[in-house]
């Protein structure tokens, strides 16, 4: 199937470019003054976090449109986006402690944004579990749309309560109302990485979408009695 092939190519290119991000971050970007080399993980950690959160919002939006339009493509996209989001949340949850250990002196703290990502991860896992627990495709699509919308609505609540807790985390340095407080070369590397992660997200989602489409075709073929000879 062409779509699957496209997804695989996009992912392959994104992974190659990811290697490029490492090269640029390690060789062509200045070492941060106080944190030293540990800060390099920033170029992976933050873009992954952005996409972990954005993927949940896309799941929610696709779910809303699904409930109105009942288009199975939207359900497939929501499922694909949730799976990609789970991967990105897992990346954030692994790179975070690796960064935290040398800088904060601890692998894990119940820091607000760490907790937020953990929540996001658990929301994703719940969403995927619900999908796997419903056998009927139409019911699965409706149920997961309901959960997807609730998940999206909960994100601002967690986000808001995050700012009410004391935090070890640096406050946003790029996405904030004033200009980014980051040297140009670091910002360039970071933006490059955000681009690469966007491509990765697209690659994952396209592949996953194609796979679930093929899965559905297979199921339909099985049901109509033709079986897989």
């Amino acid at each position: 199937m062409r779509m699957l092939r496209v997804g695989q190519w996009v992912t392959a290119i994104a992974l190659l470019l990811l290697a490029g991000v490492y090269v640029r971050a390690l060789a062509y970007t200045p070492v941060e003054a106080t944190q030293g080399l540990a800060q390099k993980i920033f170029y992976i950690h933050v873009p992954a976090a952005i996409w972990a959160e954005a993927a949940m919002i896309l799941v929610g939006l696709a779910s809303i449109f699904f409930l109105f339009l009942k288009d199975p493509r939207l359900d497939r996209f929501a499922a694909a986006s949730a799976e990609a989001g789970t991967v990105f949340a897992a990346i954030v949850l692994t790179t975070g402690p690796i960064w935290g250990k040398p800088i904060w002196g601890t692998w894990w703290t119940w820091d607000a944004r760490l907790t937020f990502t953990l929540f996001l991860f658990l929301l994703y896992v719940g969403y995927l579990l619900l999908r796997s627990a419903v056998a009927d495709p139409a019911m699965r699509a409706r149920f997961s749309a309901v959960l997807g919308i609730c998940g999206m609505v909960e994100v601002p609540f967690i986000h808001f309560s995050v700012y009410m807790f004391p935090t070890l985390h640096p406050m946003p340095i790029v996405l904030k109302p004033s200009a980014p407080s980051l040297p140009g070369s670091m910002l360039a590397t970071w933006l490059f990485s955000v681009g690469v992660f966007t491509l990765l997200y697209v690659g994952f989602v396209v592949q996953r979408y194609a796979l679930s489409y093929l899965g559905e075709q297979l199921e339909a073929a099985g049901e109509s009695g033709e079986g897989h000879a």
Binding site: L67, F119, A138, R142, F143, L147, V153, E154, F157
Partner: protein, 228 residues
Amino acid sequence: MRSPDLLRHAWAVASKDLRVEFRSRTAILAAAVFVVLVLVVFKFGHDETAVSNSDLAPSILWVTFTFAAILALNRAFQLELENQALDGLLLAPIARGSIYLGKLVANLIFVATIELLGVPLVALFFNVPVLPFLGPLAAIIALATVGFVAVGTLFSAMTTRTRYAELLLPVLVLPFMIPPLSWAVLATVRLLAARPLSEIVGWLNMLAVYDVVFVALALMLFPATVNE
């Protein structure tokens, strides 16, 4: 549908559920015993010489309520599974919204009953003076419970018709319970430490916003969980 009808029908659904519950009393008794047991588990699950009972009391109160609420929520739509009772309910000429509201009210009354038992027991077992703070404490509990139960009622409509229903509901609903839980605990800690009420108003506002948003959202989404 006019709103008086919506509420009247909701009450009909709720009173049916409560009548079923009142006649058997199995679930409420089991939930009450469960609350007592969780409190006893907490008593033996921590070292009193290291952490004093009164420091831990707000957490004990809220963890107990969270688990008890989940227990209660599983029940709501399970009732309707026997003899295809849900189909009968859906065939009734009433709005889907009133079915949801009815289930919500029945669940709230069920959970409130457990909480009415839980508060004095926490006060008794863990030697917490709750009497001077009864009004504000009731407000915190009421606001947090509505948020919990609103999401939980919506989700239980889905999970009861899946595999692993009893296991799936807590997995889905706990991430939604933790934000109101954390605000409720923070407010309760300050309240029981006799801090001025102005310190907890912020948490109460958060809880109220959460309630309004999720009750409205659940009302809108509920039809999608039952319509074929």
